[in-house]
Symmetry: C2
Subunit: 201 residues, 2 copies
DNA sequence: ATTTTTATGTACCGATCGGTATATATTGAA
DNA sequence: TTCAATATATACCGATCGGTACATAAAAAT
């Protein structure tokens, strides 16, 4: 055990709170004071634990990915014996639940941050990180569709990457609509329309 | 003609520049200094011509709607003798051109602003305005699909509002992907997948 | 018990934020 | 030519921005 005074707050709980603040207000819209107030700590403690604003945001975004993004994405592949269409539906409904959650802000932190990225006030590293996360998701979806095509379970008339981009597009759009306040039932309706149109069979 | 010194800058050109600054950096990410520098005027002139930051943003958003939103939306209804599917394609390609434009920022100002809305730093009036603009577009699309159904030109198996939400979702998603830097061809591919799946016949 | 290490609280830094007071310049009207 | 009205430029306002110096408190290591 290393020497020194013990941290008086729960670091992972603090990170979770910070993530929610960014989720609600965005990167530019969040001030250090917003964060210290929400976390109930003072500035030197925040800087000591998480580094500067950019570093904290990056950490919060990774936390968001592992806490919300990846668990939902898993529904797309597991259980493997469930038909792909049903896995897509469960996955998409998981996204709807996420962007319509009552215990956290509306919309998706990743989508919100992507829209904010590329601006003057956003560090280049954050813009790159968001691009890379988007590309990674795209690749995951592409590989899934490619695999399903190889196994002859879905039609080969549409390229896997096109299916992936398309699905992502619908889900990103749902996140925007959620932020605009559209009701959950409407978003679930979108999923049904999208799924009906999927060139899977 | 009223008395007084003449304005030394073109007001509508200045509004267009201001719109581009908001489009690039968002509401929170744009400072008054950013605006005065881009417009080549000083603060009192900006405040005299456009009011405060919130009022200028509102005006810029309305300008965006009439300058870019409405002309693209028109392609959905005109020419009326073109089949609906082709009008949808032209409309969607117009959106892709908009969000991939070389002479202005990537993505859609309306989508970007919607994602930013609801935050602490965004005035309530702006959040409401964005919600209303979204609802108006939704209604326009719904009425179009309703009309086409009444004329028996598209299938009645899906409700007009669902078709509208779905189409909006895809297009909003395309705007997010554009902001992430995805290439134009990929976005056009999304449109083709979406159109193939539309329950129109 | 002393030293070393880490966390906390306060107080502060220069820079920038949105917004304005004031003085001057320029215009049309009288 | 004077007056009223509007625009410009400079300089400034209090508040907040992101970030840190510094002194103190608490813990482990010696």
């Amino acid at each position: 055990m290393s020497a020194g005074r013990k941290r008086a707050f729960d670091k992972s709980a603090a990170l979770d709170k910070a993530m929610h603040v960014f989720w609600e207000n965005g990167y530019s819209g969040t001030s250090i004071s917003d964060l210290t107030e929400a976390l109930g700590i003072n500035k030197p403690s925040l800087y000591a634990a998480f580094g500067n604003k950019e570093q904290l945001f990056t950490t919060a975004l990774e936390h968001y990915k592992s806490r919300y993004g990846e668990p939902v994405l898993e529904k797309l592949t597991k259980p493997a014996d469930v038909p792909l269409v049903d896995r897509i539906r469960t996955y998409a409904q998981g996204i709807v639940d996420l962007v319509c959650g009552k215990s956290y802000p509306r919309g998706c932190l990743f989508v919100k941050s992507s829209c904010e990225s590329g601006s003057t006030g956003i560090p280049d590293d954050i813009t790159s990180l968001l691009q890379n996360m988007g590309s990674a998701t795209q690749l995951t979806l592409s590989r899934l569709f490619e695999l399903e095509q190889q196994q002859g379970r879905i039609s080969s008339q549409t390229k896997p990457e096109e299916l992936a981009s398309y699905l992502l597009s619908v889900l990103y759009g749902i996140s925007v609509l959620a932020r605009q306040g559209r009701p959950r039932e409407e978003l679930n309706g979108i999923i049904e329309v999208a799924i009906k149109g999927l060139p899977l069979v």
